[in-house]
């Protein structure tokens, strides 16, 4: 009796142990992050765990009793595409084991969802492909400056292959003359600072020193701690060489300009001296020997004097033009209204009796060289003044047109003699005139000067006109 009771107690304990053990295994299946599908020997689904419902985005009830099929696994596991209606397809690693389920032969199929891992791997391999495809050297290093990665661009730029340098110190690439600069980089890098397009020099495997542009950024782990850095190096040796050529060419051009300037001055001086003699002696001849010359002789002498004076003017104008092209530019805010008012005031003094109506717009502040812009306004207004000379009711206007993009086009207009648009392209050429000096005096250098100054401001100048109906000169000032 006692024995029997003992036995019953034993059963109870066994049953209890069995229940506990079952509960443990149920938990494993219920809480497993992997999809678990149990099929019978013929491939019919008997059970799907909650994770399977999540992985396949479907309910277990609709699948129990349906055909899953015979899983074919090559080796340990095989990859399958996970179909989940309404969501992007996933990727799973499928494992299969033969087992017993409710005393029958069964298969337990486990599918480990590797969708995210695959996405990450894909992104990483794309990044790796980008790193490999660039011509720039992309180098990874740890905090001690040991090279940890080396792309094919680095092989080309530095001449070392990855095997030769990985594990070595980055100082391998330093030219002997830059030891301190590297220390500076290390401090900057450990402070997490990004260094962009820093131009310096490095040494190739063959000993050649190359110019490089470096971009250095820190690697951080998930906690934000810096674990190393990436260096992107672009070989700019060729670019530097080209820059040197450009600088050389510019220096040569500047030297030539200076020479030309000196030449212009000496020419003007040397040409002027004989001109003064021509003019002076013609005058002496005219005054002292007038009684020995007939009218025709006197006329010839006057013509000689006029021609020599004209030549002096031409020389002055040429000098002026070349000076406008060479003068150093000083940008400041310049009010074209003020310049126009001042110029017109001067012009009025020369011919106080002329009746001219001026319309000058307010607020014509521009950025430019005040001296050069004064020359522009003087030339344009002198022209307006001159070519309205035969107009009984002369009008001169100065203003600006606003373009759609907010830029402004300035203009000086008049209702004077105007010009034929067919000759508009000749207006801005030096010494080309549309009128004879008898009609309107001048030597044809003003608009060429204006154009040169406007071009130096990065702008454009053009004109519209009609014979006897006036002319409008437009200009912009770049920027």
């Amino acid at each position: 009796m006692k024995k029997l009771a003992n036995k019953a107690g034993q059963y109870e304990i066994d049953l209890q142990a069995l229940k506990e053990s079952e509960a443990r295994f149920r938990s494993i299946v219920l809480w497993s992050p992997d999809a678990i599908i149990v099929t019978d020997a013929k491939g019919k689904i008997e059970y799907m765990n909650p994770a399977a419902e999540r992985v396949f985005n479907r309910k277990m009830e609709s699948f129990v009793g349906k055909d899953f099929g015979l899983p074919l696994v090559d080796g340990k596991s095989t990859e399958v595409d996970i179909f989940r209606p309404g969501k992007d397809p996933g990727v799973g690693d499928m494992y299969v084991v033969e087992a017993e389920w409710l005393n029958k032969k069964a298969r337990i199929i486990t599918i480990h969802d590797i969708t995210e891992r695959r996405k990450l791997e894909k992104a990483q391999s794309q990044l790796a492909a980008i790193v490999e495809s660039t011509d720039d050297a992309v180098i990874g290093k740890d905090l001690e400056g040991t090279i940890v990665s080396w792309n094919s661009g680095a092989e080309v730029v530095y001449g070392y292959n990855a095997k030769e340098v990985i594990g070595k110190s980055i100082s391998l690439l330093m030219p002997p003359v830059h030891p301190d600069e590297y220390k500076e980089f290390l401090t900057k890098k450990s402070s997490g600072e990004l260094i962009k397009n820093y131009e310096t020099q490095r040494r190739r495997k063959d000993g050649q020193i190359i110019d490089v542009s470096l971009t250095i950024s820190p690697f951080k782990d998930t906690s934000g701690k810096i674990t190393g850095g990436s260096i992107i190096a672009r070989d700019i040796t060729e670019k530097k060489k080209l820059e040197k050529v450009v600088v050389k060419a510019r220096d040569a051009a500047e030297a030539a300009n200076k020479e030309l300037e000196a030449f212009s001055y000496s020419v003007s001086h040397d040409l002027r001296a004989p001109l003064r003699s021509l003019d002076g002696f013609s005058q002496v001849l005219f005054e002292d020997y007038a009684n020995q010359l007939d009218e025709q002789g006197k006329d010839y002498l006057q013509r000689i004097r006029k021609a020599s004076q004209h030549m002096a003017e031409l020389i002055d104008a040429l000098l002026m033009l070349s000076r406008m092209g060479r003068k150093e530019m000083h940008y400041e805010t310049v009010d074209l209204n003020t310049l126009a008012q001042a110029t017109l005031a001067e012009l009025r003094q020369t011919q106080p009796k002329r009746q001219i109506e001026f319309v000058i717009e307010e607020g014509l502040a521009v950025q430019g060289d005040s001296q050069l812009l004064r020359v522009v306004m003087e030339n344009l207004l002198n022209n307006a003044w001159k070519y309205t000379g035969k107009q009984p009711e002369a009008r001169i206007g100065v203003g600006a047109l606003r373009q759609g993009d907010g830029k402004r086009t300035y203009f000086v207009c008049d209702n004077g003699a105007g010009f034929d648009m067919a000759f508009a392209d000749k207006l801005f050429k030096a010494f080309q005139r549309l009128h004879t000096p008898n009609e309107f005096p001048g030597i044809g250098i003003g608009l060429a000067t204006v154009q040169r100054i406007i071009h130096r401001h990065g702008g454009r100048v053009w004109a519209e006109g009609e014979v006897e109906k006036g002319a409008t000169f437009y200009f912009t000032l770049g920027g």
């Binding site: 599908i37 396949f56 055909d67 595409d81 179909f83 397809p89 298969r107």
Partner: protein, 110 residues
């Protein structure tokens, strides 16, 4: 030759697994049943309704419709012998008819 073998292959888009499965199964079928089979390839991305009707959970899934009985296999379609056995199609090798599912099960559990 009359079509004696009718099969459906479910794939997902153009993943490497889909492409490999298609290539493998075409090779296996053309070697075993040249001219006598019809294989319909169904992309679950383009025809989710068909996939739902056939209770597809993962691809590649290959379903043999004819000759009966209907059989399906899922996963790796590399091994010709395993594939044909899995589809319940007897393959003759060295004059001996090989077994059916039971044989496969043994191989898998090995």
């Amino acid at each position: 030759m009359a079509v004696k073998y009718v099969l459906k292959l479910y794939v997902t888009g153009v993943t490497s697994r889909s492409q490999a499965a298609l290539k493998n199964i075409e090779k296996i079928l053309s070697e075993a049943y040249k001219g006598a089979y019809s294989l319909r390839v169904i992309d679950v991305m383009k025809h989710p309704k068909l996939a739902e009707d056939d209770k597809i959970l993962a691809t590649p899934t290959l379903i043999k419709i004819l000759p009966p009985p209907v059989a399906r296999i899922i996963g790796d379609l590399m091994d010709k012998e395993k594939v044909l056995l899995g589809l319940d199609l007897v393959v003759v090798r060295g004059g001996a008819a090989l077994g059916k599912l039971g044989k496969i099960n043994e191989e898998i559990s090995q």
